[in-house]
Amino acid sequence: MVNNPEHLYVPRLVRVAAVVDETPTTKTFQLAFEDGPRPDFKCGQFGEFGIYGVGEATFCLASPPSRDGLDITVKDVGKVTRAFHNLNEGDLVTFRGPYGNWFPYDGFKGKKLLFIGGGIGQAPLRGLLWACLENRNDFDEVDLIYATREECELVYERELVEFEGRDDIGVTLALDPVCPGEPIPGWRGRTSFVPPILEEDRPSPENRVVITCGPPIMIKLVANSLLEKLGYAPGQIWTTLEMRMKCGLGKCGRCNIGSTYVCKDGPVFNYEQILSFPQEF
């Protein structure tokens, strides 16, 4: 008998230490490990989180590893995520992970970083963004473009306000235009999709990497704009992909694009890799 002392699918229990309302449909959960030390993880990794009796779902680890515990930001879209939204402080949830690969943090050192987030796609960027700000001297310019459909959909609003007050990070907030170009009353940011912002501001490709996450259509349009209009090379763009996952560890066969297991070989990919995939996106 191959006896694994630790069964692969038996999760750990973690406690909800705090719940933060982010938007009408999104909450952040601060989780604490009480049954032993929190596992080491790297920015970009994810976990399988669950509630016994309901099931498991995949969320990215949304806080920097330097902080205690672990944050996840959950959008209410279905069965498991709805149950998460009904959690209170002190409740127990299940955790398997950390799984997947991570952003090449060391490879980013000395470079200009441009983060581009869309909607809930800001969650996988948040840990890395904070890790970079904690070691700000390791990097050249750091900028963030963050776009959502409506103002109420901005997650981490309090942190965005903090960033806006700092002089070591450039922040551009944008809302989807209802009527392009027309300002939205009371809105402090821009009213535009991301590609026109890039094409207007023209951040030069020189020594810069772009780290983007959001809806697939946004990633595609942002990449096209960077590659075709601003002269970026595919290797300068990094993103995390979302495919439906169950096991998170390369067994259940759900997350593949060609022979790539997004849960094992990803979720972080360089755009050069993405262009080599069968066009399933």
Binding site: N4, H7, P215, G250
Partner: protein, 350 residues
Amino acid sequence: MAAEYYRLNKDKVGELFERARADYDVVAKTRDANGNLVYGRPATFDDVAFVDEQPPMSAKAFALPQTETLVRYEREDEKIRAEGPEAEARDVLLFGVNICDAAAFDIIDHVFKWDYLDDPYLGRRADATLFALACAAVQQDCFCDRISYAEDGVDTVAYPLEGYYLVKVQTEKGRKLVERYHDLFDAEDGDAEAAINTFREKAGTAKKEPLLESARAGLEKAFEHADWEILASTCIGCGICTYTCPTCHCFDIQDEGSAIAGRRLRTWDHCTGRTFTAMPAHQPRDRQYKRYRQRLLHKFWYYPERFGPLLCTGCGRCITYCPVKINIKELVEYFGGLKDTPPGGARHGK
């Protein structure tokens, strides 16, 4: 280990079965109450169908059950107790299993043992001994003659020759089986491989060119082929092909029970299903032909690219039982460039 060869007299098979039942949890083909051939646990050799006829369901459930418990949990006051699956009590012997079913285990071992070790699957797999029975004639839709899958992971293979079974022992587990009941086996001193080759030629199971492995180069260029939509959109996504397949291994994870007590389980799942990859904001396989394309390309391109062997043993069940008569072998030949004309010409209006 180097292969060893033995003779097993045909009238000794029953005794082998009965004696093995004392040492193993013996699984063999038998008829259920409706007369259907199934892998089951017949109590006596009289109920065993020691024949090459292929049951509709493959033998994979003995390593990957259709449903199995991954975690059992129970809440008591503020505490939750959770434990993994219990180890099975006895070693399984798959007695008289078809070679295409037996060879499948070696193929799917790759996915369950790369990187993370899947302890529920690998535990059962390590405890299972395969005693395969070679087919004396090809079955209705099978095409194992067109796939060069390795049989050397099959512990023992019995070839039905005139008057006796020629038993080829290929692994330590197989040797242990023969040693346990050594008085039933005689040494084979003839040219066993020559006898096996002659047998296979006659049975129609000798390998035939072009092997489907050679379709790979063509398939790698065929992802965007316009005919997927014509040839694969008749698929209704029922999943029969996957459930009967000895190599399909995809699964879902679900909870059953309440917040107080229950289990987290895994169940078979299939890529041709509409919800397999559906996400809140995005569905990469939004048309049925894309889901069928995943099935075919996973078996004949992605899996071999990743792990080596084709994810197929040519058992032909997916052809036999598909309600809309989709023929994977013909589609591989067509999209892989081994044949110029699409299958089912008239039916598909081409």
